[in-house]
């Protein structure tokens, strides 16, 4: 217990006082400003963090709006394409149907005309054959009708009269 000797106690007390003075001075001149600086820096960092968070939220919101717009545009694009395809197909089908109907009508007309022509030719040919046959018959009969043939005609006549 050398520290408790009277000649040492003075030094101790002075040292203690020095330490206290140093403590308070350090506290006043160093600790508090540093604390103040650190507090300000922390608040600044918090503010920056808050701003960053807010910016991130705004960016995400903007991205979500952008994505929604892109999706809408894609949907609209698909709808327009589908409409255009459907309209093109309908037009093509209508044109094809019209062409088929026209072709069928033309074919039918041509068939009717051909049938009429054929019927007329047949009729003319048949009439001509008939007339030729009758004319030939006349020529043949003019040479070949015999008395026996005439007798048969006479008998047929009176048989028909109910002789």
């Amino acid at each position: 217990m050398d520290l408790l000797k009277p000649e040492m106690l003075g030094d101790v007390i002075i040292n203690i006082i020095n330490i206290l003075i140093l403590f308070f001075v350090t506290k006043k001149l160093l600790y508090q400003p540093v604390k103040k600086y650190l507090t300000a820096r922390r608040e600044k960092e918090l503010a920056a963090l808050t701003d960053a968070e807010q910016s991130r939220a705004e960016a995400e919101e903007a991205k979500a709006r952008y994505d929604a717009l892109v999706k809408d545009a894609e949907t609209e694009k698909e709808r327009i394409l589908a409409d255009a395809k459907r309209e093109a197909k309908e037009n093509a089908d209508e044109i094809l149907s019209g062409a088929k109907r026209s072709a069928a009508a033309l074919l039918e007309d041509a068939q009717r005309t051909a049938d009429a022509e054929k019927a007329k030719l047949m009729q003319d040919a048949h009439r001509e054959i008939g007339q030729t046959a009758v004319a030939l018959s006349g020529k043949i009969l003019g040479r070949e009708v015999s008395d026996a043939d005439n007798r048969r005609l006479i008998d047929d006549f009176f048989k028909h009269l109910g002789d």
């Binding site: 003019g142 009708v145 005439n150 006479i154």
Partner: protein, 78 residues
């Protein structure tokens, strides 16, 4: 006495004509006086006018009937 005009082809023989006249008498009576008329256009058969009635048994008429029937048939078919 009733009059009968029978038109025949000149090619018809007298025997055939007499046969015709005999059949006329048998059918219509002996009081029918038949007169023969030759028509070179006739192919065969005879044409008789008696008591206002005309009897046509000519081959020409038969051919015309056949021709008309033929034409009528083709018209119907058309």
């Amino acid at each position: 006495m009733r009059s009968c005009i029978i038109t025949v082809s000149p090619a018809m023989g007298n025997e055939t004509y007499d046969y015709l006249v005999s059949r006329v008498h048998a059918r219509f009576g002996e009081d029918v006086a038949c007169t023969r008329v030759n028509d070179a256009e006739l192919l065969g058969g005879f044409y008789m006018e008696l008591d206002g009635t005309v009897y046509d048994m000519t081959v020409n008429t038969r051919l015309d009937q056949a021709k008309r029937a033929f034409d009528a048939e083709r018209t119907v078919d058309a």
